[in-house]
């Protein structure tokens, strides 16, 4: 492969990887506190992409700015959904929580289909086609902006988790909810806020997805697969691991696109996903199963 093409795919891979990291961050956060895969995560991202697209078409609001509007709305809806629906299911049976999130994924998909039809959409702004050249490598402006926004938001999330009391409580709950409760963390309350935070991160991913890729209601099945690959490779529940994994997979996908073909490139994610599960059945940094003899 010629070096310029390789350089090109590395740059695109890193920029796209940043966006994958943002989209996966909420999924890993929610898994961390609840031990449940939020099947509806990608459907929420696509929902946010649709809303951002609507805001741009009707009010002319820039998709990057719509993140500021969408995040709080999704935070409230997510926290409310957790408090009203998921909390009631409690720890009784985690499969019930998975089924509810599966149900929500389908409700969101159906809503998008009935509101906006099931054809392809994309958010095309005035600068969507702009790009520039660095050392012969072509850098699309939207990818750079999206990666920048993703990095800024991930940085903010990292600061919240490492520097604030809420962040400490979330990390404690992730490690061990029972011990967290013993040292005075209100686990129910923290779980709800963490869920809201995770959904808000999904909201932040939507406009970026809409700027970079075409989307339609059923695309979330592709995305949930990609994001789960990222999250599993990164070790379920670990934010830093997720970031590294997103970079690896973003790069691998771009390299596969230029060396193999665009059609088969998504398979890279699943090969990684299944590969990790074969080698380490509990995931790369697998946690010890809670239930013991």
């Amino acid at each position: 492969m010629n070096p310029q093409l390789l350089g090109q795919s590395i740059v695109l891979g890193i920029l796209t990887g940043g966006v994958y990291a943002l989209m996966a961050s909420g999924l890993t956060l929610i898994f961390g506190v609840m031990r449940v895969v939020n099947v509806a995560h990608a459907a929420m991202i696509v929902m946010s992409a649709y809303l951002s697209w609507m805001l741009y078409r009707t009010l002319g609001l820039d998709p990057l700015l719509s993140i500021i509007v969408l995040m709080p709305v999704f935070f409230v809806l997510g926290a409310l959904g957790q408090w009203v629906v998921l909390r009631r299911l409690g720890g009784r049976d985690l499969t019930l929580t998975v089924l509810v999130s599966f149900g929500f994924a389908i409700i969101l998909e159906g809503l998008q289909g009935s509101l906006w039809s099931s054809s392809f959409q994309a958010i095309n702004t005035a600068y969507s086609l702009d790009s520039f050249n660095i050392l012969g490598i072509y850098v699309p402006l939207v990818r750079l902006l999206a990666a920048g926004a993703a990095l800024a938001l991930l940085g903010a999330l990292f600061v919240v988790l490492s520097r604030t009391n809420l962040g400490r409580a979330i990390r404690a709950t992730t490690q061990d909810p029972r011990s967290a409760a013993l040292v005075g963390v209100n686990v129910e309350y923290v779980t709800t806020l963490a869920f809201g935070l995770g959904v808000a991160m999904a909201a932040a991913g939507g406009p970026l997805l809409g700027m970079l890729f075409a989307f339609y209601p059923a695309t979330h099945w592709l995305w949930i697969g990609k994001l789960l690959a990222v999250v599993v490779l990164g070790g379920l529940g670990s934010l830093k691991g997720t970031f590294v994994a997103a970079m690896i997979l973003g790069l691998a996908e771009q390299v596969a696109t230029v060396t193999i073909s665009l059609d088969w490139a998504p398979l890279v994610f699943y090969l990684f996903l299944f590969g990790v599960l074969i080698v380490r059945p509990r995931g790369l940094f697998g946690t010890v199963a809670r239930e013991s003899l």
Binding site: L89, V100, I107, I224, W264
Partner: protein, 330 residues
């Protein structure tokens, strides 16, 4: 004989002679699909109800069955009614492979793998254009039968599949294997500790569970004379199975059957009521809402709720298993 034994046999006899009386395609078609869903639900429940591992990817095996049977008839001329049992076995082998990847550890891997498998297999069906016809699909040769009886082989085929599914499920419930699965559902750590080979049990249960979806997919492909990546991997199929099992009662022999006979006709009626332009999407929303409501307010389902209301046995015992501990299985 008890009512529980007589009723199913009477119903089976009724379904066997029904096509003589009812010649209308509409009702036979409705029943055919109800049998298909009931058979797949019984299969789903072996994993989702007995062993307590919820699969979100049964439609992947349905689609796999559709494609394999379709390719066999198109490229090699092997009729679907001949290949269907082998397609089921193949689906079981693939299921065992996925199980080996995802069931050796407890918990989340299984959900992740079943969720993503459907997409992988759909991607393969879409991209192997030379073999599968890609997004334009695969046309199966029509059966050479008069138009008014062409539905009958499918009607009886699906009925046979349902009967086999129920018998297999019954046999599992009466065996040590079934008892082991229930032990896994109730307390996997303790099941493991008392000598149940939990990984093997789960993998085997999943393989059996998905094989019915494979056979159903095969028959369905020939029934429509057509397969394409959207039709074969329609999400609603997995969703229906889960709803049917939950409504009827997970972990019971007749729950999934009851669920299918309630949900499928109702669902078809609702589709008939909504305007066709948005029916598909509205149907999706409605089923999603039903799933959430059922999980929240009726997770035990009709049969379990009914038996515990009557006060008899508390939580209905899902298995009629011998009262002895499972021995070490390896």
């Amino acid at each position: 004989m008890k009512l529980r034994t007589v009723f199913p046999i009477v119903m089976l006899g009724l379904f066997l002679v029904l096509p003589i009386v009812v010649r209308e395609g509409f009702y036979l078609d409705l029943l055919l699909f109800t049998f298909m869903y009931a058979a797949m639900s019984v299969g789903w429940d072996i994993m989702g109800g007995l062993a307590g591992y919820v699969s979100l990817g049964h439609v992947g095996f349905f689609g796999l069955g559709s494609y394999v049977a379709g390719l066999l008839v198109v490229h090699f001329g092997i009729p679907v009614f001949l290949s269907a049992p082998f397609v089921g076995i193949l689906a079981g082998i693939v299921g065992a492979g996925l199980g080996w990847i995802s069931l050796r550890a407890r918990g989340t891997s299984f959900v992740i793998v079943t969720l993503t498998f459907t997409y992988v297999i759909q991607l393969v069906a879409l991209n192997l254009r030379d073999i599968t016809g890609g997004s334009s699909g695969l046309y199966l040769p029509l059966l050479t039968l008069p138009a008014d009886v062409v539905i009958l082989p499918f009607y009886y085929g699906m009925l046979v599949l349902l009967v086999v599914a129920i018998l297999v499920s019954l046999a599992i419930r009466r065996s040590k294997f079934g008892l082991g699965l229930v032990a896994i559902r109730e307390e996997e750590g303790k099941a493991d500790g008392s000598g149940v080979n939990t990984s093997l049990y789960k993998i085997l249960a999943f393989a059996i569970s998905v094989s019915f979806a494979g056979v159903a997919g095969a028959l369905h492909a020939q029934y429509l004379n057509y397969v394409d990546p959207d039709l074969a991997f329609e999400l609603i199929i997995t969703l229906n199975l889960i709803i049917m099992c939950l409504v009827g009662s997970r972990g019971t022999l007749w729950g999934p059957v009851l669920g299918a006979f309630l949900v499928q006709p109702l669902s078809q009626y609702l589709i008939y009521l909504t305007p066709s332009g948005i029916a598909g999407q509205v149907h999706l929303v409605a089923l999603g809402v039903v799933l959430v409501l059922v999980v929240m307010f009726m997770p035990d389902g009709i049969i379990t709720t009914w038996t515990s209301r009557r006060g008899g046995r508390g939580r209905a015992r899902p298995v009629d298993a011998p009262e002895r501990l499972p021995e070490a299985a390896t």
